[in-house]
């Protein structure tokens, strides 16, 4: 029983990694465009992941993309409602079919290559020491211990830099440069009071 459950989970893990994570740039874009507080986007995304993962434990959603969009949309509505900003009819009235993300975009198709390019750009922009750690560990394949020795720093420092670097690399996947313009928008509706 216990074994069955964990196998099941591993199955969903694989599904999550293969089907959901590649949609991260789309999801992030969607959230950024519709949510004013950029600071909250990562949080909303994480919440959307939890929701879709939990849903998949009951039944695998297929196709994944519209389902994820629906989850994101509902999350935003819930939050807005909690913040008393929006009336529900208003959100429902918005023409979500306009959001180009619903159809698989060419961007989704070239996603893997593009994500790698973004990661590369992010790697190149890391602080020198962090970049050195990541390059030695990932590109040259030295172990954390060997990296520490090579660079003459403590193993804990290597571990910390690994942590830092991986966060940046993970975020880079969905991060386009020049987000000043594209990001930071949300649907907001305040009634005149």
């Amino acid at each position: 029983m216990e074994l069955g459950r964990s196998l099941d989970r591993r199955d969903i893990d694989a599904w999550f990694v293969e089907e959901v994570l590649p949609l991260e740039p789309m999801l992030t874009r969607l959230l950024r465009r519709n949510w004013r507080d950029v600071e909250e986007v990562a949080d909303l995304r994480q919440e959307a992941y939890v929701k879709i993962y939990e849903a998949a434990q009951r039944e695998r959603p297929s196709p994944v993309k519209p389902f994820l969009i629906m989850i994101a949309r509902n999350l935003m509505i819930d939050r807005l409602r909690r913040n008393n900003v929006v009336s529900i009819e208003t959100m429902n009235d918005l023409d979500w079919s306009n959001i180009s993300e619903i159809a698989p975009s060419p961007e989704d198709r070239v996603a893997a290559r593009q994500q790698l390019t973004r990661m590369q750009a992010a790697l190149d922009q890391l602080p020198p020491r962090c970049r050195e750690v990541i390059v030695l560990r990932r590109v040259h394949g030295f172990s954390q211990r060997e990296v520490a020795k090579k660079m003459g720093i403590k193993e804990e420092t290597v571990e910390n830099q690994v942590m830092k670097g991986m966060r940046v690399l993970a975020d880079a996947v969905s991060d386009r440069r020049g987000n000043l313009i594209a990001g930071a928008k949300r649907l907001e509706w305040r009634r005149k009071d």
Binding site: R36, V50, Q120, D124, R131, E132, V135, L169, A170, K192
Partner: protein, 309 residues
């Protein structure tokens, strides 16, 4: 403990006690998805080698031979200098003369020979003359966003009404409404001068994040917060973003993008609204306004009239 800690620890090699700790930590779905996300990125990052990092970074870790790198950098620098000098002696800079007028709903990006990009908003008109010694764009009407490739020997100037905006290496937009202009600087620095006036005016220097509003006789320089800045440039990806503007002002914006016009009458004109809308989908906007503000919308074919009941 967060997900990055665990992936980093795993990468270093887990002790036996940690292994159990991790698997119970992963029982929580929130932990689990965060972990899967980071782990996936971390695993993908081995592919970074295959893509071929730039030489600068590939050599980054061979810090034991710093001189090798210096010598290479100097040699490369000299080579670039030599090539540029030769190029400058032999080639005249390319020149160009263009005229552009956009209709409702159009938002083309044009590329000038000097590498500068101009995105032109709907219902706008501009003329650009790129010559060997200078670059002049005359904004006759509407709005445009400029990403200028700076060239100290060839200044880039935008003429709009009674003002001149000179680029000092930057990205900025200029909107013209008669003689009133609005300059939003997203990056770098511009200089705004009054022209065609009898007495010379003091130039204004605006940096990234600044907004300059110039009327015939007065010029205002303010700083925009990033949100307003991006709202102001929302037209570039086809959205109109309003932050507590009157319905009359919002209608005016919509009318720039659509051949069908929106008119607001009476007390409805002063109702303030906010939100983000597709510029080319007036129907959604109208439906929203009607339902949420209880206005009537009268569709007369080429015009929709919004008014209070």
């Amino acid at each position: 403990m967060d997900a990055a800690h665990w992936v980093a620890r795993e990468d270093r090699g887990l002790a036996s006690g940690e292994r159990e700790e991790l698997s119970s930590w992963l029982e929580n779905t929130s932990n689990r998805v965060a972990y899967l996300r980071l782990k996936n990125a971390w695993e993908k990052s081995t592919a970074l080698a295959a893509l071929g990092s730039s030489p600068k970074h590939r050599n980054r870790w061979t810090l034991s031979w710093p001189y090798k790198w210096h010598v290479f950098a100097i040699a490369a620098g000299l080579l670039v200098l030599a090539v540029t000098t030769v190029a400058m002696m032999h080639f005249r800079r390319p020149t160009q003369e263009i005229f552009y007028a956009t209709q409702a709903g159009e938002r083309p990006t044009i590329h000038l020979v000097d590498g500068t990009q101009i995105q032109i908003d709907a219902n706008s008109r501009l003329r650009a003359t790129i010559s060997d010694g200078n670059r002049v764009v005359t904004l006759e009407k509407g709005e445009a966003y400029f990403e200028v490739v700076h060239d100290a020997g060839r200044p880039f100037v935008v003429l709009a009404g009674k003002h001149r905006i000179s680029d000092l290496g930057t990205k900025f937009s200029v909107e013209r409404d008669g003689d009133d202009i609005r300059v939003v600087v997203t990056e770098g620095r511009v200089r705004v001068d009054g022209v065609n006036t009898l007495s010379p005016t003091t130039p204004i220097f605006a940096d990234g994040g600044n907004l300059v509003v110039a009327k015939a006789n007065e010029t205002l320089l303010t700083t925009l917060n990033p949100q307003d800045l991006s709202d102001d440039l929302g037209w570039r990806d086809g959205r109109l973003i309003f932050n507590q503007v009157t319905l009359a002002e919002a209608a005016k914006e919509f009318n720039r993008y659509n051949s069908r016009q929106l008119a607001v009458t009476g007390a409805a004109r002063d109702i303030r609204i906010g939100g983000s809308f597709r510029a080319d989908n007036m129907d959604v906007f109208v439906a929203l306004i009607r339902n949420s503000l209880g206005l009537t919308a009268e569709d007369q074919g080429d015009t929709i009239i919004l008014s209070k009941k």
